[in-house]
Amino acid sequence: MAIQGVGFAILSVFTFLSASGVAQEVDVDGLILASEKAAYYAGDDSRSDARMIIVDGQGRKQMRQFTILRKDVEDNGDQKMMVFFSRPADVRDTVFRVEKHVELDQDDDRWLYLPALDLVKRISAGDKRTSFVGSHFFYEDVSGRAVSEDTFSLQKETETRYILKAEAKDTHSVEFAYYVVEIDKQNNLPVLINFYDKNHTNYRRVEAVSVDTIEGYPTVTRSKVTDLTSGGYTLMEFRNMTYNLGLNEGVFSERSLRTPPVQWLK
């Protein structure tokens, strides 16, 4: 599932201090690649319905519902993605198209289709750590933050999890000082990510709430992002997921922006 909500992240300050429990033989590079693959590259392609409930700091709720189609160019590499919105009413039939590039010097390509104007708009790459359609998820949580962007170090190993600390190679491109990610040993999925600022304050959390095995792939089916400063949060749930559908290239083009591939959206 492309958009498994959960990215990579952090440790509490306490675990960060008790790095003594680290087993030295863990291959960190191998682990994060396996984790990235499990979280964002399961199968060669996928489809899923998704629903988000966005709750702001004052308890006001908004909802977004969409279908995501994803195709890998290669595992842990470039990906193509289409997001077809169906709710709320004012964004119905809006389509978002992304070509994700993992090379650090190549920005993602992004397009937006606005149905009421029949307008295909190419969007400048922009900051990937800004809200995805008004939710507490960032674009990058949805498309996956390339592991090549960060430097990881193992902080701790528990019976069920590896706990790693990550720091961005380009610190100007991110709002965090570091994040601590907990990876489930059984399925390699990142299941908890805490983001910290330079004062070691944990201000943001991404967590996998439910994991199900779908067609053999462990898949995050419910995830949650919390803005620990405002108290606002977003729940995301995936339904009707399928892998390896054999989606062809044409689905990931301007054609699908203007003419939605109805057979994949039902």
Binding site: I53, A89, A116, G126, G134, V262
Partner: protein
């Protein structure tokens, strides 16, 4: 110490409360699947909008520039590999004091695979529809599809800048190049500034007028319009070629009695869009080939070349800026001036427009602020649009803004609408099944 404990208790309490609310919301999501069965869906909104002039318009007299009470309904019916869509507006237009209706969309859209293997490479969209292509923001070169400038100037939502037309669009796809062919069986003109909402400059009287003119049937073509686009991507650059055969979209020409008419027009052009640096660069060119080949017919617009160069980039998180330079070159300018009935009011040989846009998303994207300025250094006039939209829930949205026209002369393109400068406010309530 006690204070800290209470703080901690409160914090724990709010965390627990949030957990409880999350659990309730997850439970609420469980109803989701059942709602998704029907292929039929509908939604809509109700809106009231009010706009006032910022100054008097002595020619029109009325201070109201926008007074809509509107309901829009949208519905879709999904078939196995195609869909039927409807979007229609019913509104009371207080400026015209009329009940109006507009079918913005009523079309069938789908793949032609049912005609055989070849058909899979073609999509068809047939019926009432809104059409857009080209690269400019609020500036159109190769996009000759209908527009509604009256709505745009009055502060209606951007959606209304595009007017619908009854058309058939056939799209074909291959690995190298794709195409769209649009046939509009009966010419669909723009809704221009015609004195209903805003006054305009009349060169024949040399003053602003607000005659609510309509074009005589004999001057309104009922012939088809044809538009074509070929496009593809080469080395990361999106390239397109365009063609149009039809009529000038505004009644800029005149017949021998001086009545406005739409003259024949053929347009050809190209565009290129690609990432440049941290942003998106674009280039578009169009040649407007009208009836007045030598430029000596004072009743018909001269041929024109139009060029646009633009760049857009996110400046900081959530703030995007864009710049466009647009120019119109009037061919056979000497002949135009020599034959003009009012050479003092004619356009410059080259008209330039610079646009600047800033778009800011704030408050978790519930607030959108937009500044868009058109400035013409050749006409020394311009048009500033400010707009804010706030929608903290899925239920409602409030928007407001200013349309400000400025300039030195009464006869230049933007400056003639100075008395139409307005401020507006709109409230929209959404509903869905």
């Amino acid at each position: 110490m006690a204070k800290y404990l209470i703080g901690l208790l409160l914090l724990t309490g709010s965390v627990l409360a949030q957990e409880q609310q999350s659990d309730d919301l997850w439970a609420e999501m469980d109803n989701w699947e059942e709602q998704e069965v029907s292929p039929f869906s509908w939604a809509g909104f109700a809106e009231v909008a009010l706009g006032r002039r910022l100054q008097r318009d002595d020619v029109i007299g009325r201070n109201t520039t926008l007074q809509d009470a509107r309901v829009q309904l949208k519905s879709d019916y999904l078939l196995s590999s195609s869909k039927v869509s409807f979007r229609g507006d019913l509104y009371y237009d207080g400026v015209k004091n009329q009940l109006e209706s507009q079918i913005r969309e009523l079309y069938w859209q789908g793949n032609l695979g049912f005609l055989g293997t070849m058909g899979r490479h073609f999509d068809l969209k047939a019926g009432q529809q809104v059409l857009t292509w080209g690269t400019g923001d609020y500036l159109f070169l190769n996009d000759l599809f209908s527009k509604d400038y009256q709505s745009f100037f009055a502060g209606r939502d951007d959606d209304y800048l595009k007017a619908p037309s009854l058309s058939v669009k056939l799209s074909g796809y291959s690995t190298l190049v794709n195409f769209d062919v649009v046939i509009t069986p009966e010419f669909e003109p723009d809704n221009g500034i015609n004195g209903e909402y805003f006054s305009y400059f009349s060169p024949s009287t040399g003053t602003l007028i607000a005659d609510e003119f309509s074009v005589l049937d004999s001057n309104l073509p009922d012939e088809p319009e044809y538009a074509i686009r070929l496009y593809g991507t080469l080395a990361g650059t999106e390239l397109a070629l365009y063609g149009y055969k039809g009529y000038s979209k505004l009644p800029q020409g005149a017949d021998v009695q001086g009545n406005p008419r739409y003259s024949e027009l053929t347009v050809s052009g190209f565009s290129a869009v690609r990432p440049i640096g941290a942003g998106i660069g674009k280039l578009e060119y169009a040649f407007y080939d009208g009836e007045d080949t030598f430029g000596n017919d004072p009743f018909t617009a001269n041929d024109q070349s139009r060029l646009l160069i633009g760049y857009e980039q996110e400046l900081i998180a959530n703030l995007t800026g864009s710049l466009q330079w647009y120019t119109e070159f009037n061919h056979d300018y000497a002949a135009l001036v020599a034959n003009s009935l009012w050479p003092q009011y004619e356009d410059e040989e080259r008209r330039h427009v610079l646009t600047t846009e800033l778009r800011y998303l704030a408050l978790q994207q519930t607030l959108t602020l937009q500044l868009f300025n058109f400035y013409s250094p050749s006409d020394n006039d311009g048009y500033l649009r400010l707009r804010g939209t706030y929608s903290p829930t899925d239920r409602w949205q409030i928007s407001g803004g200013v349309n400000g026209f400025y300039g030195d002369e009464t006869y230049t393109f933007y400056s003639q609408f100075k008395d139409g400068s307005n401020v507006y406010l709109a409230f929209r309530y959404f509903f869905e099944e």
